[in-house]
């Protein structure tokens, strides 16, 4: 961000201090809600997650951005973003957050291993099992997914449910199918280790980079993590392919972080000016070139770097119609926690699939 911030500092004479923030929506709420509830804000501009943003705008703690962000910035987003912006970045017809990240679960795979065996990465759930078995020889496993509570079990269950064609918050038949598939990967076919149920993303990535995983779903940040591991990374070790298709096709839900301005920002006028500046069509590509976290299918970004790095796969996913909308619930944090709990209970064999679906439906209904 530094080059863009330096430009703004030079233009306005204001100084920007960068502060590292929480890495999840839950932590965003934990860190900022007490301050906002007290009518203060420790920051002027923040990068906010999908699972915290909606609670913040509903509570009236964020500044609407409609009059600050020019229409040409909104027009720079592809058509497929429009609905997501209306659902996740807006409330009561006002926009409160400008997306700066396109977080979709990519399928990373060991192209070197697949090439060696002269096989293609799995294209269907059946192939996930068949190919997974071929690679599994502990400590090497076909696939792996960090599933520790909180939040990570939800991520994977929502991903599989997108592929089975359901809505994970409805605990419908397709959700049951997704839960069953995850269970089978771990317990029936044993191509995913049971230990993933207590893993976080750091551990999952470590396992992959210890050559223990043939293919896995992971967020875009792994692209940089893998390539940043100079001692391990070689071309072909962390390539991206399309996700395997479930009954509803090759899908992966997407969401992401965005910039917003708290209503109680100490320097609100400057904050609003800054957010308009860093998200404009000129600066968005500069941010994207600096870090993969800012790479997204905005027209301005694709025009500059559409043929390089992660952007290539972003386009490939878009062309294959992979992106699926993030499942929405007005009480998103609580609803995600229900999915987390129920998945954890089921995948650790504490309850049956039928009980999991029943419990999930009842707890979601209780949220109102």
């Amino acid at each position: 961000m530094k080059p863009v911030l330096a430009k703004w500092e030079e233009m306005t004479g204001h100084k920007v201090t960068l502060e590292s923030g929480p890495v999840s929506g839950n932590e965003m709420i934990t860190k900022y809600a007490p301050a906002f509830q007290s009518g203060v804000s420790p920051v002027d501009v923040m990068s906010d997650a999908d699972d915290s943003g909606p609670s913040f705008y509903r509570a009236g703690w964020m500044e609407p951005l409609d009059e600050v962000i020019p229409q040409e910035t909104w027009d720079d987003f592809p058509e497929s973003f429009k609905q997501q912006i209306e659902v996740w970045h807006s409330f009561n017809g006002k926009r409160y957050r400008v997306p700066h990240e396109f977080a979709i679960g990519y399928t990373f795979y060991r192209k070197d291993w697949f090439d060696e065996r002269k096989i293609e990465p799995p294209k269907t759930w059946d192939e996930v099992i068949a190919i997974g078995k071929e690679f599994t020889n502990p400590p090497v496993f076909g696939t792996m997914e960090a599933l520790i509570k909180p939040a990570l079990a939800f991520v994977y269950m929502a991903y599989l449910t997108a592929q089975s064609g359901g809505n994970v918050f409805e605990f419908d038949d397709a959700t049951a199918q997704a839960f069953q598939f995850a269970y089978d990967l771990i317990h029936t076919h044993k191509i995913m280790p049971e230990t993933t149920l207590s893993m976080d993303y750091t551990q999952q990535n470590e396992e992959y980079m210890k050559d223990h995983v043939a293919f896995m779903r992971q967020w875009p940040f792994f692209w940089d993590v893998a390539r940043g591991n100079k001692n391990w990374y070689q071309e072909g070790r962390a390539e991206i392919t399309l996700p395997p298709a479930g009954p509803a096709g090759a899908k992966s839900w997407w969401g992401g972080w965005g910039f917003s301005v708290p209503k109680f920002a100490p320097n609100k006028a400057e904050a609003l000016d800054l957010i308009a500046f860093i998200t404009n069509n000129e600066n968005a590509p500069i941010l994207a070139k600096g870090q993969s976290w800012f790479v997204m299918p905005r027209k301005s970004i694709m025009a500059v770097m559409g043929n390089e790095g992660l952007a290539v796969y972003m386009q490939r996913y878009a062309e294959a119609n992979v992106p699926s909308p993030r499942p929405f619930h007005p009480k998103v944090a609580e609803a995600q926690s229900v999915v987390d709990d129920v998945a954890s209970l089921y995948l650790t064999k504490q309850i049956s699939l039928a009980e999991a679906m029943k419990q999930g439906k009842e707890r979601i209904a209780a949220l109102g």
């Binding site: 913040f56 509570k149 944090a333």
Partner: protein, 292 residues
Amino acid sequence: MQRTRRIAILICLLLLPSVALRLFTAVYPFFNTIWLSFHDWNPAFPPQQFVGLKNFQALTRDIAVTGSISFTVLFVTISTLLEIVLGMAIALILHRAFFGRGVVRAINLIPWAIPMVVAAIGFRWMYDTQYGVINDLLYRTIEVKVPWLVDFWGARAAVIATNVWKSTPFVGLVLLAALQGVPQDLYEAGRVDGTNRVSAFFYITLPLIMPQIVTIGLFMVVWQLAAFDLVFAMTGGGPGFATQVLAYRIYQVAFTALNFGYASAISMVLFIVVGIASIIGLLLFRKVEVSL
């Protein structure tokens, strides 16, 4: 008379800051929590509404809460018992004279000095089935690997063991101080009467340090009832609700869901549990004092 009045005013003035602080940081939040527990209050879903006992009715049906209560009771009971037994053993060892005792006493405190979150994350890695050192040792010795943090009882055992590892040195330190207060001439008199080490422990040491054992036991119970950081960093309350404690559930409901009304109702349950534990502890303490 005037001097007495002046002294009384001075006492009040001197006490005022601390009383005001306690009123503001303890009494007000307590009554506000009671008040909120009868309301539906989520800042993301205004307005705040009086709902009577609805939050309390809801928590009786909430399996996350009932599961949390059962593990909280188990966690606190087993942890406290183990900490006192092991802490006593450590105190007895450190009370004896041997070369390097000062260094050993300092080493004993290392686990207590490590921040709980650091210990929790470290143990999470150590318990890992694939590459954790605990399973590695188990496999090398008896060719067994236990999926500690994935298995219902394995995870509970792992969390309790980590907590005991972390807190026992502190209990040992307190009991060591208690042992140092036992007059040596009682042991000498006992030796004259023919007591051995075991009977001296049960008939001299234990009765004399019982008030300190009850005090530290009560302290650990209350402290651990509010434990949150260990579970937060080690298991996230999982698998399922196997290791979820009430304090962690309150955190989830209040600070990730912003459901302050319901979180307040769960807090009242925790308050009642702490209250019952405190009353039992105080009764025990009085009984011990009377018998001494």
